[in-house]
Symmetry: C2
Subunit: 555 residues, 2 copies
C-alpha cells in the first residue's frame, strides 16, 4: 500500500457564505501536490470591518506551500469565487483554469494587477480534462445564476471527487447550460468517492424554481406600468437581465443598462458567446431623450449599495435620469442578510419621490440560484457518493446538510475552514487543523483581521478619541500646560464647561502633583494622563474614550 | 366661527419605525394647548450611530412650548412608546397618564431619574376619561403584543379623534383585553373626525393571526424535545412568555426566566394583576440543579443583542447554565430588519455546540402584534372616520396606508415627522413645518444627531486617525521634528518602512520648506501638515485618514 493520501482543506466558504477557497491535495503527508478551487472575496460591513474594502481568505498556508500548488480552478465568475484572484495571483504563483466566460472576468481582474491574460487558461467543458500533477480535472456544466457555472470532476489516484460548485437544478435556465441529470449520472457511474457540495439553501424545504418562471410576472408588470420602469438585479445574473430586457422590449420600451458591473457582465457574456439575442440597448445619453413611458432601465444596486445606480437614483439623479411620481422600481432580487437597512432606505427614498416600488416579498420576481433541500437530495441520489462533504455555508448550513446526508445513509463530514480532511480510506477523518481566518484589503494594503487595526477603529467609533500633548523640558519639568483635542465626543459635558477645559484642568493638577519619577518615565506619565482623561470623561459625559498621549521631550 | 384650531404634529414615528411621539393641540394658532402621546426611543446601530446608547426624538419644539403642554399620555409600555419618558420628563414638565401596567413600567423609568412615582397618574379604561385643557381623553382597550395596550379617544371642541396606538385585531390575545369591535363601533358612533393609525403591517396582505395560534406548535415542540429547551421572545410579550411557560409546564419541565427585562416585565404584569395563573418558576440557582431534560429556560435576546441571555448562552455560559448537544433553542420571535447578522451569529454559535435551533421561518412559532392590511381596512370600516392619518411607519408604509384609505373613499393624510396638520375643517391641511430630528443619548449626555460628533466617529472608523504634533519656539522656528501617532491604520505601507517614519519624514521636509508666513500662522500650518499626511497616506496605504494636528507654541 502506498502511504499517499487525498486531502480536502477548506480555507474559506466552509463556516460562512462568501470568500470561497477550497484546496485538494494528493501525495505523501506534508508533500501533497495541491490544487485550489476558487478564491473569492467577502464584503465588509460597518459592524465588524469598518473602512475595509474587501475581505479575502487568509492564504498564508497556501503561500507557505506555494511550490506544491499546481493550479487554481475557478468554477464560476461570482465575486465570492473569483473576486480575490487578482489580489492573490502573485502570492500563489499558479496558473488559473476556467471556462471562457469566467476566464474573461478573471482576466479583467488580473489586468488590474498587471498580470497578463495568458495566466488564465480557457477550458472546454467535460469530457475535456486538464491534467495537473496527480489530478485530472474537468469542468462539468451545471445551472446556477451566472453563465457557465460548473462543477468539477477531480480524478485522483484515490478516486473521483465531484465538487458541485454553486448550483441549482434548473432545466430551463434561459442562459447557459441546463441541469443535465443524465450527464451527472454518467460521470458518477464509475463511482464517486466524495461529493463536495453547496449548502446555501439546505433550509429551504420546497424544490427550487426555474429561472424561466420569472418571465411572465415581469412581463405583466412592465406591460402595465404607466411611466418609466427601472429594474435591478444582481449584475452577474445574465439570464435575469435578459428576462428583464425582453420584458421591456416586448412592451415597446427602449432598454438602457446602467452601472459599471451590469454593463461589464453583459459585455463579457456577449463577447464569449454565452448570451445571444439580447435586445438592442440605448446609451445613457440617448436614454435621456426617450419619453419615460417608453423607457426601461436595468440597473445595479439590488442590495442598496450606496454608490450603485439604484441608490443614486433614490437620492436624486444618475446618468442624467431622475425618477418621478408614477414610475415603477422593481427589485428582481432578494436582500442578502445584513443589507436590509440599505435596501429599505432606498425604498423609502423612492416612496418620497412617489415611485411605486415592487419587490419580491410575494416570490414572483426572483428565484434563488442555489439548490433547495429536495434538490440537494436529488443530486445525492444521482451521484450516489461514498462521502458527502457540505461546503458553501455557515456552520448551521453545513451541520444541517451533514445530517441530511447521514439521514440518507451516507457518510457526511462537517468540515469548516482550516480542517484538513483525509478522504483516502473508507471513512473520512480530520487529519490536521490549519490556521485560517480573514485578510482585509484596506486601501492598497492587506492587513490581518486580528492585527488590532480594525479593533482600534471600532473603539474610536464607539468611544470617541481624546488626544493629549504634554511638553517636558530638559529638566524633566512640564513646559506649559497639557493640551487636549477631542474627536467624536461632545464639546460640553455635565459641568457645562467645555470638555477640553475640564480635561486640561484635571491633567494640569495631575502633572502638578506628579513627582520627578513619573515625569521622567514616559510610560508612567502616559498611563497616568490616560487614566485621568478616562475618569474625567466618565464623570463629565458618562463615557470612557480612547486616549492617545504624546509626550514631547525637549532635549 | 372661532379661530381656534385642532392640530396634529408627529415628532417621531411618522417616517420611521421607532421613537414614537405625537402631539395634539387645540386653541388659537400658536397658542394651542398641547398633549403629547407617547415618547419612545429608537435603537442605535454601528452604521449610523456608533457608540450611541439610545435615540430619542428631538423635542426642542415641545421644550420651547413647555408651558402649553397639559399632559403626556402613554398608550403602552413598549420601549418605542415609553422608553424616553425618563430622559425627557424634566424637559417637558408635564404629568404622565397611563393604565396600571404601563404606569408601572413608566414609574421604574422615572425612578432612574429620581422622579417620584406620583408624576404618573394611573388611569382606568374607557368610559373613564381624563380632562386636560381642552381635551377629554380616554384609554380604549385594544389588543397588541403587550398587556393593556390602548387606543386613545381624544375629544376636542373640533371633534373626536381616535388614536389607535399599536394594535392588532386579536379576539383571543391570551393576556390583556381582546379586540372588541362592538366597543370601538360604539365609541365611533357619534362620528370620528380623524383616525390616527398604526401602519406597520400595511404591506402584509393576509389577515393577522391570533396569539392563541402559537400555543399548539410550541407545545408540540417542547413535548418532543429530548434535552433542555431554551426559548426566547420579546420580553414585553407577556402573553407569549406565558404560552412558552405553559408549554414547558405541561411537558413537566421546571420554568426559569432569564434576563433582566424578562423578569421585570413578568413582575410588572403580576404586580398589576394583568397576568394570572403563570406557572411556577424556579430561580436561576435552582435551575442549575435540575436535570436538563426537565428544564425550560425562557430568555431575553431574541434580536441577537450581544449582552442579552441568548447571546451569552451562545458564547458559552449564562447564570451558570451551558447549552449542550441535543438541546433545543426556539426563537418565538421575528428578526427586526437590521438585526439579521446578530441573530445569525448566535444561531451559528448554537450550531457549533450541537444545539438544534428552531426559528419562525415557517410561521409556526410567532405572530405579529400589528394589524395587517385587511385588519387595517376592518378598523376603518368599524370607525368610519372622516380623515385617516397613518402613523407608526416608514415613509413607504405611510404612503401605502394613505393610498389604501383613499382607495376606500376616505381622506388620507401623509404626514411625516415635523408636519403640523390642521384637522379643524373638512379637509385636513399641512399648516406648518417644525424642525425635528433625532437626539442621541450618548453616555450621560444628549447630543444632536447633526452635531458632527457621530459623523467624526464614523470617519475615524472608516479612515483611521493620524495625530501630528509640532512644537514651534518663541522665534516661530520648529523645535525638533514633527511627531506622528496613528490609530486604526496599518503600521507598514507600500514602502515597507514604518508608516509613521514615512509621514514624519514628509512632514519634516514640508516644515523645512515652509516660510515664516506659514510657520507663524496656525491655520496655514495645520492645513499644510494635514494635506501632507493625507497625500503620504494615500501613496503608502491607499487611504486618506482623518488628521488631527496639534501645534504647540512656546511663548
Amino acid at each position: 500500500m502506498s502511504n499517499e493520501r487525498l486531502i480536502y482543506l477548506p480555507l474559506g466558504g466552509a463556516g460562512e457564505i462568501g470568500m470561497n477557497c477550497y484546496v485538494y491535495g494528493y501525495g505523501k503527508p506534508g508533500e501533497e501536490r495541491l490544487i485550489v478551487v476558487d478564491i473569492g472575496v467577502a464584503f465588509p460591513d460597518m459592524d465588524g470591518s469598518p473602512g475595509v474594502d474587501l475581505i479575502l481568505p487568509d492564504i498564508s498556508w497556501l503561500v507557505e506551500n506555494r511550490n506544491r500548488i499546481d493550479a487554481v480552478f475557478v468554477t464560476h465568475a461570482h465575486e465570492d469565487h473569483v473576486g480575490a484572484i487578482g489580489h492573490t495571483f502573485e502570492q500563489l504563483g499558479a496558473k488559473v483554469y476556467a471556462r471562457p466566460f469566467t476566464a474573461n472576468i478573471a482576466r479583467h481582474k488580473l489586468a488590474e494587477y498587471g498580470v497578463a491574460g495568458e495566466s488564465v487558461r480557457t477550458c472546454s467543458p467535460w469530457p475535456e480534462t486538464v491534467t495537473v500533477g496527480p489530478f485530472k480535472v474537468g469542468f462539468l456544466p451545471i445551472s446556477h445564476s451566472i453563465p457557465e457555472s460548473s462543477g468539477l470532476v477531480i480524478d485522483t489516484p484515490a478516486g473521483r471527487i465531484l465538487h458541485s460548485g454553486d448550483f441549482k437544478l434548473d432545466e430551463t435556465p434561459l442562459v447557459g447550460e441546463a441541469w443535465d441529470p443524465d450527464l451527472w449520472a454518467e460521470v458518477s457511474k464509475p463511482g464517486v468517492k466524495a461529493l463536495v457540495v453547496d449548502s446555501t439553501n439546505v433550509f429551504s424545504r420546497n424544490p427550487g424554481r426555474s429561472e424561466a418562471t420569472v418571465g411572465p410576472a415581469v412581463q405583466d408588470l412592465v406591460a402595465n406600468a404607466k411611466q418609466m420602469v427601472v429594474a435591478t438585479t444582481f449584475a452577474s445574473n445574465v439570464a435575469r437581465v435578459k428576462t428583464l430586457a425582453e420584458a421591456g422590449d416586448r412592451a415597446g420600451r427602449s432598454i438602457c443598462l446602467m452601472g459599471r458591473a451590469m454593463r461589464r457582465m453583459i459585455e463579457a457574456a456577449i463577447e464569449t458567446g454565452v448570451l445571444t439575442n439580447f435586445p438592442k440597448v440605448v446609451s445613457t445619453e440617448d436614454a435621456q431623450n426617450i419619453p419615460r413611458e417608453d423607457l426601461m432601465l436595468i440597473v445595479t444596486g439590488s442590495q442598496g449599495e450606496r454608490r450603485a445606480a439604484s441608490a443614486q437614483l433614490a437620492r436624486g439623479k444618475f446618468n442624467g435620469i431622475t425618477m418621478k411620481e408614477g414610475d415603477t422600481f422593481l427589485f428582481s432580487s432578494k436582500t442578502i442578510p445584513g443589507n436590509e437597512k440599505g435596501v429599505i432606505r432606498i425604498i423609502n427614498q423612492f416612496s418620497e419621490q412617489g415611485v411605486d416600488v415592487v419587490d419580491d416579498s410575494m416570490g414572483e420576481y426572483h428565484v434563488s440560484g442555489h439548490a433547495n433541500r429536495p434538490d440537494l437530495e436529488t443530486l445525492q441520489d444521482v451521484v450516489n457518493p461514498q462521502i458527502v462533504v457540505p461546503m458553501h455555508g455557515e456552520h448551521r448550513h453545513l451541520r444541517e446538510h451533514t445530517r441530511l446526508s447521514q439521514g440518507k445513509g451516507r457518510q457526511g463530514v462537517l468540515a469548516v475552514n482550516g480542517m484538513m480532511v483525509d478522504l483516502t480510506g473508507n471513512a473520512p477523518k480530520v487529519c490536521d487543523y490549519i490556521e485560517t481566518g480573514r485578510t482585509y484589503l484596506d486601501g492598497s494594503v492587506q492587513i490581518g483581521a486580528l492585527d488590532g487595526i480594525v479593533r482600534d477603529r471600532i473603539r474610536m467609533a464607539l468611544n470617541g478619541h481624546v488626544l493629549v500633548t504634554v511638553i517636558i523640558d530638559e529638566d524633566d519639568e512640564p513646559l506649559g500646560e497639557p493640551w487636549c483635542e477631542i474627536k467624536g465626543l461632545t464639546e460640553t459635558g455635565r459641568s457645562n464647561a467645555p470638555l477640553v477645559d475640564v480635561l486640561e484642568e484635571d491633567l494640569s493638577q495631575f502633572i502638578g502633583r506628579a513627582g520627578g519619577k513619573t515625569l521622567r518615565d514616559d510610560d508612567k506619565l502616559e498611563e497616568g494622563l490616560r487614566r485621568i482623561v478616562r475618569q474625567s470623561c466618565l464623570n463629565e459625559i458618562g463615557k470612557k474614550p480612547e486616549v492617545t498621549v504624546v509626550v514631547s521631550r525637549l532635549s
